[in-house]
């Protein structure tokens, strides 16, 4: 219970830090409309923004009041009004979050299974050399959006096997028949890109962990005792590398979320990535800040879940 209390306090601190970052970052960047470093040009730029923007941020009030106002807005779930979408930011993000989580969650699950299996197999082979992993390293070196665009070029446009944009065909909505199949069909390409970009990290890490354990004495002891390969794998390798893999997975999930956003931006998949693309293209500050806060909080939650899992497993 004490350890749980400590974890809650630590994550509470992290949440506060994230809120501070989200609040202070626009105010300390040169050239930002909310900048406190350059008040004259900032207030000049503010004239161009609509009243909702000025009401939400209240730049004329002192900083401490602004921060309290910001916290008050957040507690009531108000993330401001989007300049481009002309709707509440919270609504826009709420609609898109589901698709992003679907894509990221599925990608993470599948790539973990494949990555761990492949990494362990590569590590367990006799005379394993890092050369075996070169294709994975090469794959990891390709920026994820480039991978997305290349696959889109090949499979959507040249071969016409899969649709090139959106989560469902134009005109379909959740109650039309065949909607689920349509969604799955549209999800194939983005999901494949995500899986391809996540596998190398996990596989290489699993390989390194497996190789490290292989050198340990107790493994050689198990081999001398003629235990079957299966038991060795399960009991000795897997159980030992599991906490490390969970640690790697928690970091990898975050980069998976970030990668999902880029893939969505490429495929015009209606998730947070698509919102981010329109927001950065049009400098939609409230939307960008809302996305930043949402993704950071999501990352914190994911990390907390994984940390809890690691603690549970390490306790045994």
């Amino acid at each position: 219970m004490k350890r749980g209390g400590k974890m809650v306090r630590t994550y509470g601190l992290y949440l506060v830090l994230i809120l501070c970052i989200s609040f202070f970052l626009p105010r300390f960047l040169p050239g930002s409309p909310l900048s406190v470093l350059d008040e004259a040009t900032a207030s000049q730029n503010m004239e161009a923004f609509p009243d909702t923007f000025r009401e939400y941020y209240a730049p004329e009030k002192p900083e401490a009041v602004q921060f309290l106002l910001y916290l008050k807005h957040l507690l009531s779930g108000d993330l401001g009004y989007s300049l481009t979408g002309k709707r509440k930011v919270a609504d826009m993000i709420g609609e898109s979050l589901g698709y992003s989580l679907l894509l990221a969650g599925l990608a993470m699950t599948v790539s973990t299974c494949i990555g761990v299996w492949y990494g362990m197999r590569a590590g367990l082979k006799e005379g394993s050399s890092p050369v075996r992993l070169f294709p994975l390293i090469l794959l990891q070196a390709v920026p994820v959006f480039l991978l997305a665009e290349s696959l889109r070029l090949l499979f959507s446009y040249r071969l016409s096997w899969f649709p090139s944009r959106g989560a469902y065909s134009v005109g379909m909505h959740p109650s039309s028949e065949g909607f689920l199949l349509d969604v799955l069909y549209h999800m194939v390409l983005p999901l494949t890109v995500m899986i391809l970009s996540e596998i190398p990290g996990i596989a290489v890490f699993t390989y390194n962990s497996t190789v490290r354990i292989k050198k340990q004495q107790f493994v050689r002891m198990a081999v001398y005792l003629n235990l079957t390969q299966n038991i060795i794998e399960k009991k000795y390798f897997f159980r030992n590398i599991l906490p490390e893999i969970l640690g790697k997975l928690s970091i990898q999930s975050i980069s998976c979320v970030a990668g999902t956003m880029f893939v969505e931006a490429v495929f015009a998949y209606p998730g947070i990535g698509m919102l981010l693309r329109t927001a950065t293209a049009n400098r939609d500050y409230p939307l960008m800040q809302g996305i930043l806060l949402t993704v950071c909080t999501l990352a914190l939650v994911i990390n907390a879940i994984f940390e809890f899992l690691i603690q549970q497993i390490s306790r045994r």
Partner: protein, 268 residues
């Protein structure tokens, strides 16, 4: 230098050679470029030929010259960002171990930055702030030092508990004595971190360019890739072969080579 070279495996030698090639191309490349990279007076969308080795883009820039100028910017971004973040990270790692009280605070701060995806913060900064090269590099340094901090701290803390450092602190050695003792065990990790950060910096820059952020005037590979992807007939004809592929290959090879060099430390 010869000692280092002889210790590397064949694969590492190839990778090191490629890195040296990139560095030389950055230093001397623009001497060989047939046109200045900003010059867009050539006819647009020419396929590769004798005058334009990689053809021209839709505005009339010579693609080969732009790829060559990209070497310089890539080196600039990756080296300065890597230098800045590695210095900051290792100094903070040492400080957090030598002064344990502020060490906990720095550790928490670094953990927060590690939990949130740094590319998002860099994107955010690039969108909010004035789009200059300096701002991009500063934001890369500022948001990627936690990774260096975490790895350097774990390596240094193992060294800190070693006998010779404990002895130094026991007989009242000051900070510089401890640094001297740590340096011998610690400097390999700095090299690894430097290469890791260099490859990440290039990935960041390419992603920023993809979103249309960052300095629009610099002809980096990221910008070249972006304008290749924005080209209206990108999906329909074969222009991408000479427009997208050269820059893409340059970026991928650079990042892959650095990753392979880093790989043997087991920290990929």
């Amino acid at each position: 230098m010869k000692k280092i070279w002889s210790r590397l495996s064949a694969v590492q030698r190839i990778c090191a050679g490629i890195c040296i090639f990139y560095f030389l191309a950055a230093a001397f490349g623009p001497i060989f470029s047939p046109f200045p990279p900003d010059d867009f007076s050539s006819p647009a969308l020419l396929p590769p030929g004798r005058v334009h080795l990689l053809g021209t883009d839709e505005m009339g820039h010579d693609i080969f010259s732009m790829v060559l100028s990209g070497f310089r910017y890539t080196m600039l971004f990756s080296l300065t960002a890597a230098l800045g973040s590695v210095s900051l990270g290792t100094v903070l790692a040492f400080a957090s171990l030598y002064f344990p009280r502020i060490g906990r605070g720095i550790n928490h701060l670094a953990t927060v930055f590690l939990i949130i995806p740094d590319i998002l913060l860099i994107l955010f900064v690039a969108a909010f702030a004035a789009p200059t090269c300096t701002n991009t590099i500063l934001s890369m340094i500022f948001f990627s030092w936690p990774r260096v901090f975490r790895i350097a701290r774990s390596r240094l803390s193992a060294c800190f508990s070693s006998n010779k450092v404990a002895y130094t602190m026991l007989i009242g050695g000051n900070m510089w004595d401890v640094i001297r003792k740590l340096w011998h065990d610690g400097y390999p990790v700095i090299g690894t971190l430097f290469m890791m950060q260099a490859s990440r910096a290039v990935t960041y820059e390419t992603t920023l360019a993809f979103f249309g952020l960052g300095d629009p005037l610099l002809k980096t590979w990221g910008r070249l890739i972006r304008s290749a992807l924005n080209y209206e007939n990108f999906f329909y004809d074969n222009t991408w072969c000479w427009y997208l592929l050269p820059a893409m290959i340059c970026v991928v090879v650079y990042v892959a080579v650095l990753s392979v060099l880093v790989f043997d430390e087991g920290k990929v």
